[in-house]
């Protein structure tokens, strides 16, 4: 035991001489540290000292509790250290503060953070082809893409999860939000510490581990606008033994879908958002009502269905049940010959309004946010064995399962119907009519004739060539929309993550100055297994059922020798694509369930991602400097990644109508790494200077070896000021997607600049008129150089056409390398105890070279043909038909290539102001904090073979506002807290060079302005001003339970609405862009603890 003499004397000295104030005042000192609200158990332990210490002669207990002690692992360094010191820029988001803003979902919390940039992929993204597949929620720091943000749980890499294609990013919804203690965001390249992908930074979710007994928590959220209720419940149980502990936690989440109809801002349709020269917002389309006299609401023209394209002058005819303005039973022409909206019945109103056939506004059952159910279970434990190595085997298991169901609305279906298909409307031999005569009937319609005369002065009969006469059966193209065709998707994903390891001391190393070395050896195995199912219409079955493969166009007959998959012919039933049920409500269905069940199939994917990491790490003190111990760490890591993303035939071969083929991905790779880190506590004069150096060598199976390193310096010229600087290199190895993605093919409408443009076709001769051709000479040369004569290739001005595009992994891409640096300070006001003020700012710059990009087809075409030097590297990705006259584009290859340089620069700001205000003699702890980010630059740079730089800047544009900020005001009184949080998503606008010109309906650029002389001109709304939302909550903490009640978006601030041509949107609501689209949400958090012994 202690030498009692020491204790006695010290106690006597202090007590006799000074009569100190005992415990409460000691606690007072902690309060002055502005951490007034401790978890209840802390206060308990602190007080625990009293009853035992009071009557004793010892003050030793005082000393013990005055120490603030811990060994912490700081994200950004693997060294064990005693104090929380981070030289690297680190933002910590505590789950508690997030909960006070109504957020428990890891994805929401990370995506809302000011350090997240770019478009944030969440559950509003469906109906898109996403790198990580449907239902995956990714982290994207600085907008550099999810592949360049490393996500970890408890300091260990989180493996990818997803489905379809080749998902390579972790999905944030495998993180059980209610079990998270805090999220560390390391905002610095960190490959030298953590390996590949930590280019833009690291997100590390740290799970709660420190619990004893049972804790139950519920966190329901109920939207003010109804649908979209979200229920999260969790239970966790832990037990501590003398030498170990074990704990289990589980969380269940049930999130209802929110449809477009469920929110006032999406319950309508996609509208024009244009602004006129007078600054007035305009929605009303002017073109169709003005020119065609169509009845029109305030929606814009979307995808039209409920129509049939016929191969005569009429083009599309529209379903008008019981009426025809020509000779098509139940169908009518909409408009012809310029500005004539056909009013065949002479009632003064155009017979067909496009709005009556528009999917836009009729797909309100589509999800704004998908429906999701998740379950997460984690278990962990450790036990320290007897012995001086303190060998501590441990394990951690995380199981997550999620089911996401999405409904993306309605798509068009437009299959070719062969001429003699019995149902074909233009098959007079079947149930149809002769469409030549049917159209002639329109020319002969007296009401129409009058309209024609009004415009052209003569009746259409004046132009005898207009008359078709009898043309017999002709093929048609019904354009309909079938409910549930390709728009429903169910994704089910399971991820298992096992960590097993052993830690311990290495007493054998205790020689000389080495005395505290410890090691950790672990194996982490992750397996995610996901399925995706999507019902849709099989194009091959549809074609068989329409008679496409029959010489007589007989449904279900294949006498042309077409080779069909085995599951096509069985069960074939003739399909009537002209049934009223497909037309009557725009979004329709087949006439019979038999038809539907035959043509519908499911597109299924099974995707498995596996990752195994074996890691060894040792850390300890190298030697002591007068200013402190020099600690170091070394480690090696072996990583194995494997993907098996297997499509069924429907997905692999693109068998759905109009749906892309996805070959999935199969591949694996091995990475070996060795790394080291050392931290030197130095002195600069009398002031502490901390230097941290780290380096890592990576040997990648495919691209070879790479070194990364970093140096970080922190200097305290005064106690109150920390200056820090970091510089490091990071890298990103080509991932399994870039290496092993099998062909994904699809069709895109692409613009071909090598075809004679419509402007350059002589209206009289219909041939090429070079005088009208405005194209640059270098463009024409580029076309010639690549096998097209741009003065001959004439597609009647239809220069945008459907081209197959294909993408796939390649093994010849190299790693991306990046340099990052940061300069920052943090300062804490030392002058007064009346308030705490901490101010910090950190400038960062990340430059990535040779980014692996997947150029868009449009970009490839542009780069190839618009290269003034004719040296584009992309031209050989464009294949054309072997047709000397009209060599249309046949295939554009989109695969990966190392090319661009990215640069992002910005400043992160942190301010915390805290004080205790006395109101009615009672103390209220007030804390105000601001986190802000200023984007200085986001740009890509490509230097072409001629050394000419081509820079594209994105900052201040969509997704990259100059300012983002989060601020919070918390007032604590006893066990109560009121919390107000606000979030700013700053102004964004279109690139100054790409701002639309003022225009009007006459030139087609704008749809809501008529233009001079009667009206001004318009352009799309391309700017969104500063966007604020606010959250309010109140909290009460009892010893064994606490409750928080509040409202997110308390003012029910709607999202800004923009023109749908300017951003990815849902009925003008921009998605993934930092705006709230759910409106006010009431939330309740209730946690109860039941203690063990």
């Amino acid at each position: 035991m202690y030498d009692p003499g020491i204790i006695t004397r010290r106690g006597a000295e202090m007590r006799n001489a000074l009569s100190l104030l005992i415990l409460p005042f000691r606690q007072g000192r902690l309060i002055l540290g502005r951490k007034a609200v401790f978890p209840a158990q802390i206060a308990a332990i602190a007080v625990l000292v009293t009853p035992f210490a009071l009557a004793q002669e010892t003050d030793e207990a005082d000393e013990v509790t005055d120490q603030e002690a811990e060994v912490v692992i700081v994200t950004g360094s693997r060294l064990k250290r005693d104090a929380y010191t981070s030289v690297a820029p680190l933002q910590i988001i505590t789950a508690e503060v997030s909960r006070e803003a109504g957020l428990v979902d890891a994805g929401d919390i990370i995506q809302e953070s000011t350090a997240s940039g770019g478009q944030q992929i969440d559950l509003t993204f469906h109906g898109f082809v996403l790198d990580n597949g449907p239902g995956t929620i990714t982290a994207d720091l600085r907008g550099l893409g999810s592949a360049r943000t490393l996500v970890m749980i408890n300091g260990r890499r989180l493996a990818p999860a997803g489905v379809e294609g080749a998902p390579v990013s972790p999905s944030l919804d495998v993180i059980p939000g209610l079990l998270v203690q805090n999220y560390d965001q390391l905002l610095d390249g960190a490959s030298s510490v953590y390996g590949s992908d930590a280019v833009a930074g690291v997100v590390n979710a740290i799970l709660v581990k420190d619990f004893d007994g049972l804790e139950l928590e519920i966190f329901p959220s109920v939207p003010h606008h109804g649908a979209g209720r979200d229920d999260v419940v969790s239970a966790r149980w832990g037990m501590n033994f003398d030498r170990g502990f074990i704990g289990v936690g589980a969380q269940f989440t049930d999130s209802e879908a929110v449809t477009l109809a469920d929110r006032p801002w999406t319950n309508g349709c996609t509208k024009h958002y244009e602004v006129d020269q007078g600054g007035q917002l305009r929605h009303q389309d002017q073109f169709y009502p003005r020119i065609y006299g169509m009845r029109w609401d305030d929606c814009r023209l979307g995808s039209l269905a409920g129509r049939v394209w016929v191969p005569t002058r009429s083009g599309s005819i529209y379903y008008t049940p019981g009426y025809s303005n020509g000779g098509w039973p139940n169908f009518s022409e909409s408009s012809t010959f310029g500005p004539i909206g056909v009013d065949g019945d002479g009632d003064g109103e155009t017979d067909v309004s496009f709005r009556d056939h528009d999917i836009n506004g009729r797909d309100l059952f589509a999800h704004l946010v998908a429906e999701r159910k998740t379950a997460n279970v984690m278990a962990y434990g450790e036990y320290t064995l007897e012995g001086e190595m303190n060998l501590t085997p441990y394990f951690e298991v995380l199981y997550s399962t999620r089911d996401v169901h999405t409904n993306s609305g309605a798509y068009q279906l437009f299959p070719d119907v062969p001429a003699r298909n019995p149902y074909n409307i233009c098959n007079p031999e079947g149930q149809g009519v002769d469409c030549g005569l049917a159209e002639d009937a329109l020319w002969l319609n007296p009401n129409y004739q009058q309209q024609f005369i009004d415009v052209y002065g003569v009746p259409p009969t004046f132009f005898s060539f207009l008359f078709n006469g009898e043309i017999g059966p002709v093929g048609t193209l019904p354009i309909v929309s079938v409910r549930g065709d390709r728009t429903l998707n169910d994704v089910s994903l399971d991820q298992w993550r096992y960590v097993a390891g052993v830690g311990g001391d290495i007493p054998a190393l205790n020689v000389g100055t080495l005395y505290d070395w410890s090691f950790d050896l672990s194996i982490t195995h992750s397996l995610s297994s996901a399925t995706s199912n999507r019902p849709g219409i099989r194009e091959d079955r549809l074609e068989l059922a329409l008679g496409t493969y029959s010489s007589t166009h007989t449904p279900c007959e294949n006498d042309t020798g077409e080779s069909l998959a085995a599951d096509v012919a069985p069960g074939c039933v003739p399909i009537n694509l002209f049934a009223p049920s497909l037309y009557a409500n725009v979004i329709g269905d087949f006439a019979t369930p038999a038809e539907r069940s035959y043509v519908f199939d499911s597109r299924d994917f099974d995707t498995e991602n596996q990752q195994t990491i074996i890691s060894f790490y040792a850390t300890g003190t190298l030697f002591e400097l007068p200013s402190g111990p020099v600690s170091a760490g070394v480690g090696v890591e072996h990583r194995y990644d494997e993907i098996n993303s297997i499509p069924d035939a429907v997905a692999r071969d693109g068998l759905f109508f109009g749906y892309f083929a996805d070959g999935g991905a199969v591949g694996d790779k091995t990475t070996q790494e060795a790394f080291g880190e050392v931290e030197l506590p130095l002195l600069l004069g009398q002031t502490p200077l901390s230097v941290n150096l780290s380096a890592r060598f990576t040997d990648d199976e495919y691209y070879g070896g790479a070194w990364t390193g970093s140096a970080k310096v922190g200097w305290n010229p005064f106690d109150s000021l920390l200056l820090r600087a970091t510089y490091g290199t990071s890298y990103r190895a080509p991932n399994l997607r870039e290496l092993f993605l099998q062909d994904q093919t699809g069709f895109l409408s692409l613009f071909d600049p090598c075809l004679i443009p419509a402007d350059a076709i002589d209206p009289l001769s219909g041939g090429y008129n070079p005088d009208l051709d405005q194209r640059e000479e270098f463009l024409l040369n580029n076309c010639r150089a690549h096998g097209v004569d741009p003065t001959i290739a004439n597609n009647n001005g239809n220069n945008v056409y459907s081209v197959e595009v294909a993408t796939g992994g390649v093994l010849d891409v190299d790693e991306e390398t990046s340099e990052s640096m940061s300069l920052g300070f943090s300062w804490e006001q030392p002058m007064t105890t009346a308030f705490d003020l901490r101010v910090g700012a950190s400038y960062y710059e990340i430059d990535i070279e040779d980014t692996i990009i997947e150029p868009s087809a449009g970009y490839i075409i542009f780069d190839c043909y618009y290269s003034e030097t004719g040296t584009s590297t992309f031209c050989d990705r464009i294949q054309r038909l072997d047709d000397p006259v009209l060599p249309l584009m046949d295939l554009v290859g989109l695969g990966f290539i190392n090319r661009d340089n990215w640069t992002v620069r910005g400043v992160d700001y942190n301010v915390v102001l805290g004080s205790t205000l006395t109101i009615f003699d009672r103390p209220f702890d007030v804390e105000f904090d601001v986190r802000a980010h200023r984007q200085i630059e986001v740009s890509t740079l490509f230097v072409n073979d001629q050394g000419e730089p081509d820079r594209n800047a994105f900052h201040r544009e969509w997704y990259f506002p100059e300012f983002k900020a989060q601020m919070g005001l918390r007032v604590d009184y006893d066990r109560w807290r009121v919390s107000w949080q606000s979030r700013l998503h700053g102004r964004v606008e279109e690139d100054i060079n790409q701002v639309d010109d003022w225009s009007d309906i006459n030139d087609g650029g704008s749809s809501t302005c008529l233009g001079p002389p009667d009206d001004v001109q318009c352009r799309d709304v391309e700017t969104v001003g500063n966007y604020w939302i606010h959250h309010l909550s109140g909290r009460y903490r009892a010893d064994t339970w606490d409750v928080v009640l509040g409202a997110r978006n308390v003012f029910d601030e709607p999202p800004p609405l923009v023109d749908s041509t300017e951003a990815t949107d849902a009925n003008n609501v921009p998605l993934g862009a930092g705006y709230d689209y759910l409106g006010r949400i009431y939330f309740l958090g209730l946690a109860m603890r039941f203690f063990g012994g």
Binding site: I6, Q41, E68, T833
Partner: protein
């Protein structure tokens, strides 16, 4: 008065040494007659911090180590002497840049140090804590020191039977990251056995919140643990029998209870009988035997007048670890009651030979029992260390070598009646000379603390200057039972009311006794005592000529607000009942009617300088006469008042009392 006492078997008296072994020439005993003509000591003498401390012999008795402040501003160094010849030049050691906070012998050749270094001015910031703590071990033979166990570790047991091993408590963080740092600060301790030779460690037990603090016996067996049950709001005591592996809950104590229940040891012969200092339904704390199986308390010793403080263990901690040999309490002075006759005899012998024996303590003893270090302190001895070896006693040194016993003042223990009839004990430090003396009433801080006056530097300083010093144990003081303590707040906070009357009544009692005069009274206090001084300044009718208020609480509400919501249980009750309706000096400034000297440390963390600032502002507004002294860089406590602080403070105070206190000074 003694209501219960169980005699433990007296051990064989083999350890008692023979008094005749003392060589007379080594005795520094001197006549304690006051030298009535002596001049007061220069204030510089009083400002000196204790010169030597922490004197201890190695277990083999061959070395003697002590901590010494070599210069008035210096950090302590360790000196290690050859115990056989103290005149030989010692081995000296400092721990620059860290400061040695204390040490103890772990084995014949290993000295363990606690080191600390102030690394920050404020609690929060880059490195969070104000101090960094380290453990270090010095190999005396190799003369090599190295730190071990990392930061934030505390030695809890030196395992007397295992020379190379000690048990260290470590606050561990784990992987919980920076946001957990507040939690982690209160993280339960993990206990390791460290091998000082190999530098390795073995986990023994890792605590948890509900079972956090573990006690180990001298063989390293965990036997006691403490925890807290948040559901029932009870402190829980767990016991582990020797050889068992689990814990058994043996006692619960509700946090609202004002009673105490503290396990202070166990009976080495019947380890299932614990020594407990507890009220057990009584007003004062007694020593009880608590059987873990029956959970019954048996009274061992209890007094109806004052609390039992603690037990003490055998002076030879190497051969008799955990052996409780007696108990201590304080009343007129510090007292021991022995259960072990041999130990009692040893102390009795020591008290016979140590000059001015007052509070004699064996601070260390060699394994063979023959070499001891002994300390004494009391009114006539500021603290002296002796080495007893080979039957010879010699003086090692004094904490305040500049003071002669004959110049120091005696302390009397008195009682008097307060105006409501309550009996108030008090200590009276009586200066040399003839009464009536000018009187300084010096209430202790706290207020809820016990005070037993032995050598009290401030009282002695004032007595040396000719002042009579009264240290009243006003109601609210601990040591006199629950009723006496709770009388300060059960019927409303008595701060400025009855607690103030208790002090004034003491002064008036001394006037009546003829020891002082009605017009020569001042009050001086620190912390709560400073608060009392502020209250006194505005009282009417006024009995004081002036007040000196140090580190005074001027705004009790502000003070309580610092920790109002962090308190729990009985402590919360105590503080809020006390302070929510006691007098606030800030409200009384207008009535201030005597000169004031106000002193405050500029970095006082416990009673922040805002108290002084607010009060001074009001004094200015009301045109009151005062002097203010700010002690630059001083915190609230004794060990942060360095030489210059003390010198400045003493100079200002003596000057103020002599010249500004009353018409012609006090």
């Amino acid at each position: 008065m003694v209501v219960g006492r169980k005699h433990l078997l007296a051990r064989a008296a083999s350890l008692a040494f023979c008094v005749s072994a003392f060589a007379a020439d080594e005795r520094t005993d001197a006549p304690s007659e006051p030298s009535k003509t002596s001049e007061p000591y220069p204030l510089e003498h009083w400002a000196m911090r204790a010169v030597i401390s922490n004197v201890a012999v190695s277990p083999d008795g061959n070395h003697l180590a002590l901590m010494k402040i070599a210069s008035k501003d210096g950090d302590p160094i360790i000196e290690i002497y050859d115990a056989a010849d103290l005149t030989k030049e010692p081995f000296r050691l400092d721990a620059d840049p860290m400061e040695i906070a204390g040490f103890y012998w772990a084995s014949d050749r290993d000295i363990l140090f606690t080191l600390r270094q102030q690394v920050r001015d404020k609690i929060e910031g880059f490195n969070q804590g104000v101090y960094e703590f380290r453990l270090a071990v010095l190999d005396v033979d190799a003369k090599k020191m190295r730190s071990f166990a990392g930061e934030r570790a505390t030695v809890v047991n030196i395992l007397p039977s295992e020379p190379n091993k000690v048990i260290v408590a470590v606050q561990e963080g784990g992987d919980d990251g920076p946001a957990a740092r507040v939690r982690a600060a209160y993280r339960p301790l993990a206990y390791y056995e460290f091998d000082l030779r190999r530098g390795s460690r073995k986990l023994i037990i890792r605590g948890k919140l509900a079972l956090g603090q573990v006690g180990f016996d001298g063989e390293g067996n965990p036997w006691l643990a403490r925890g807290f049950d948040e559901g029932s709001r009870e402190y829980i005591l767990y016991h582990r029998k020797r050889g068992a592996s689990g814990w058994t809950e043996v006692h619960r104590h509700h946090e609202d209870s004002f009673e105490s229940f503290g396990v202070v040891g166990f009976d080495v012969d019947n380890p299932d009988d614990l020594y407990v200092v507890a009220n057990n339904g009584h007003d004062t704390l007694g020593l009880w035997s608590f059987n873990v199986d029956t959970r019954e308390l048996t009274a061992l010793y209890r007094r109806s007048d004052v609390d039992v403080w603690n037990v003490f263990e055998h002076s030879n901690s190497w051969t008799h670890p955990d052996t409780v040999t007696g108990l201590s309490y304080g009343k007129d002075r510090f007292h021991r009651e022995f259960f072990d006759d041999a130990e009692g005899a040893t102390y009795a012998q020591l008290e016979g030979v140590v000059p001015h024996a007052h509070r004699v303590t064996i601070t260390s003893r060699s394994r063979d029992g023959s070499t001891l270090t002994v300390s004494n302190s009391g009114p006539r001895d500021p603290g002296t260390y002796y080495l007893l070896k080979d039957g010879r006693i010699q003086t090692v040194g004094s904490q305040q070598p500049l003071f002669k016993s004959e110049d120091l003042a005696d302390v009397e223990y008195i009682t008097y009646k307060a105006r409501d009839g309550r009996t108030i004990p008090a200590y009276l430090t009586v200066p040399h000379g003839e009464p009536p003396f000018p009187l300084a009433v010096m209430p202790h801080g706290g207020p809820f603390v016990p005070e037993v006056v032995g050598f009290d530097k401030w009282a002695q300083l004032l007595a040396n200057q000719g002042y009579l010093v009264l240290q009243p144990q006003y109601r609210g003081s601990r040591n006199y039972g629950l009723e006496f303590y709770q009388a300060a707040f059960v019927e409303g906070g008595q701060g400025g009311f009855k607690m103030q009357d208790d002090k004034d009544d003491g002064a008036l009692h001394l006037v009546k006794e003829g020891l002082t005069s009605r017009d020569r009274i001042a009050m001086f206090g620190w912390s709560y005592g400073g608060y009392a001084a502020l209250v006194a300044a505005s009282r009417t009718p006024q009995i004081y000529q002036c007040v000196v208020a140090g580190a005074a609480v001027s705004d009790p509400n502000m003070q309580v607000n610092y920790y109002r919501f962090a308190m729990r249980g009985s402590q919360r009750e105590e503080q809020l009942r006390m302070w929510d309706d006691s007098v606030s000096p800030l409200d009384e400034v207008e009535k201030v009617n005597v000169p004031m000297l106000i002193v405050h440390g500029s970095v006082d963390q416990r009673v922040p300088p805002d108290h002084a600032k607010k009060y001074l502002k009001l004094l200015d507004e009301h045109d009151k006469t005062y002097k203010y002294l700010e002690l630059e860089g001083a915190d609230h406590f004794y060990n942060t008042l360095f030489y210059n602080h003390q010198l400045d403070f003493f100079t200002a105070m003596t000057d103020f009392l002599a010249n500004d206190c009353g018409p012609e000074g006090l």
